[in-house]
Amino acid sequence: MRHFLIMTAFAALAGIVFGTVAKDSNRDRFTYGLKVFAEFMVIGVVLAWILYFIPF
């Protein structure tokens, strides 16, 4: 649970910064920030499951 929370915090911080520095309108920034957050979360969970099944 701790690892998931840390991953969520990391994704949130990266999403905030990427969303703030990118795009032109506030709406686009918000959407992009959410997209970055979701990408970090999804990729993190997928990688975690892949590594879980690798025995070495």
């Binding site: 911080l13 990266a14 905030i16 703030t20 520095v21």
Partner: protein, 144 residues
């Protein structure tokens, strides 16, 4: 043709104020935007970097520096993460002068969050480089 050349010259030359804002943003996360009156951006960018940096230490992380004490080329491996950490500006410099946060004893390394800690510290620096470039672009008129 002249117009293209003029435009190219205009793009390449950034005003001194832009450099100042960039340096301010690097030295103190969020300051580059704060000085330009971009309060919300300063709060979001600076806040994210500060939270990332403090969380890194709270999780037992350590900063990197080139000490040259290791044998052979292994000491060179300290340079890339040091450049990343250096992105936090004064936060890193103050830690360096006070020799705080560079040691990693076995007890600290045994923490389950040790790896997360130094990753957060590293990412804080990298995110601040992005914030610094954003402050520079705003001051030079390339971004609104």
């Amino acid at each position: 043709m002249t117009t293209v050349d003029d435009k190219r010259t205009y793009i390449e030359k950034a005003p001194p104020r832009a450099w100042l804002m960039g340096i301010a943003g690097w030295l103190v996360p969020g300051l580059g935007h704060l000085l330009q009156g971009k309060w919300v951006r300063a709060l979001l960018l600076g806040g994210a970097v500060w939270v990332c940096f403090i969380s890194g230490f709270a999780m037992g992380g350590h900063l990197f520096k080139y000490a040259g004490a290791e044998q052979g080329l292994s000491s060179l491996l300290q340079i890339p993460p040091m450049i990343g950490d250096l992105g936090t500006g004064l936060l890193y410099i103050v830690c360096w002068f006070r020799d705080f946060g560079f040691a990693h004893d076995p007890q600290q390394a045994a923490l389950p969050t040790f790896e997360y800690g130094w990753t957060f510290l590293l990412v804080a620096g990298l995110l601040n480089y992005l914030a610094m470039l954003d402050a520079f672009d705003i001051a030079s008129g390339r971004k609104s």
